[in-house]
Symmetry: C2
Subunit: 132 residues, 2 copies
DNA sequence: TTATATCCGATAATTTTAGTCGGATATATT
DNA sequence: AATATATCCGACTAAAATTATCGGATATAA
C-alpha cells in the first residue's frame, strides 16, 4: 500500500542518470535499460511520455536519445507524479466520484485532511531533491 | 497512485461508526454493511481480521457483533495500516528485496529519505485522529 | 542506402485488490 | 431442545490496476 509505480521509479532513475552526465550529452533508451536492468519497451514508453510532457527532449535517429529539458528544481513531486502517472490521492473520491460509500461515508473529511498533509509534503520537494 | 485500500477504508468507517455509539453497544457486520453500503462478506473479513489484531472484540451469537477493544488514540496510523493491510512503503525494496534494479538503483537512497518522511507523518497521527 | 534511434497504438501477462461461497461454531431467545 | 442470528474461516473467483510485449511506422546520421 502507498507505493510508487514502476513507471515513476523508471522515470526517476532515468532522470538521475541523465543528470549525472554533461548537460548536452544524450542517453538512449537502450543505454539506460541495459545499465539499470529495466525492460526496454516499457522504459521507451516512459521516456516518450516524459518527452511529451516536456520534461525531457527526444532526439531522433542514430546517435539519438533523450536529454533533460525542464528545470528539475522547478518541478515539484506532485506535478511530476501527476504528469507521469496521473492523479494522486489517498482515496478515489478526491479526483473521481465512483465510490459506493460516498453518500454516507463518515471518514471522507478526516481522510482528506491527511491527504492534504501528504500532498503538501510531496509538493514541498522537487524532482531534483531525488535526482541530486 | 498512493491510495489506501478499500479494506483500510472499510476498517476506518467501521471504527468511526462504533466510536459514535455508547461504549458497550455492539455493532453487527450487517448493520455496518447496510448503513454504509459495503459488501457484507468482505466487511465481515475485515472485522474478523481487526478482531484477531485485538483492535475490536467479537461477540458471538444473536445480538452479537463487535465493539472497540483497543485505545484508538494509542494506535498510530502506521501500526494500524500494517495490522490491517500489511507492510507499507513507497518502494518494494524497503520490506522485500525482489527488485530487478536493486543492484544498480540510483534512487533508492533518496526515495528512502522521502519514505521516512511519509512514514513519520503517518506515525504522528493516531486512528482516533480519523475516527473523531 | 543502411543502420539505429524514437514513436505509437494495440494487446498480453502478471499482480494486486476486491468480492463471493460454503459450511462451521457460538449463543440468545423461545 | 429447537431455532434463528451472529461470528468464524478457508478456499475460491472476479475485477482492476500495473507491468510488460509486439508490430510496424517515422526520423536521421553516417
Ligand atoms: S467516499 Fe469515503 S469510502 Fe469512498 S473513496 Fe471517499 S473516503 Fe473512501
Ligand atoms: S531498488 Fe530502486 S527501483 Fe528497486 S524498489 Fe528500490 S527504489 Fe525502487
Amino acid at each position: 500500500m502507498l507505493k510508487l509505480t514502476r513507471k515513476v521509479e523508471y522515470a526517476l532513475i532515468s532522470l538521475r542518470h541523465m543528470q549525472g552526465k554533461s548537460t548536452d550529452s544524450i542517453s538512449s533508451t537502450k543505454e539506460i535499460a541495459n545499465h539499470y536492468n529495466i525492460p526496454v519497451e516499457i522504459l521507451a514508453k516512459t521516456l516518450q511520455h516524459m518527452a511529451k510532457e516536456n520534461i525531457i527532449e527526444a532526439i531522433n535517429g542514430p546517435r539519438g536519445g533523450y536529454r533533460i529539458k525542464a528545470k528539475l528544481n522547478k518541478i515539484n513531486l506532485v506535478e511530476f507524479f501527476e504528469k507521469v502517472e496521473g492523479p494522486l490521492g489517498l482515496s478515489d473520491c478526491f479526483y473521481d466520484a465512483n465510490c459506493m460509500q460516498i453518500e454516507f461515508c463518515n471518514i471522507r473529511t478526516p481522510i482528506q485532511r491527511i491527504n492534504n498533509n501528504m500532498i503538501n509534503m510531496f509538493r514541498s520537494m522537487s524532482v531534483q531533491d531525488i535526482t541530486n
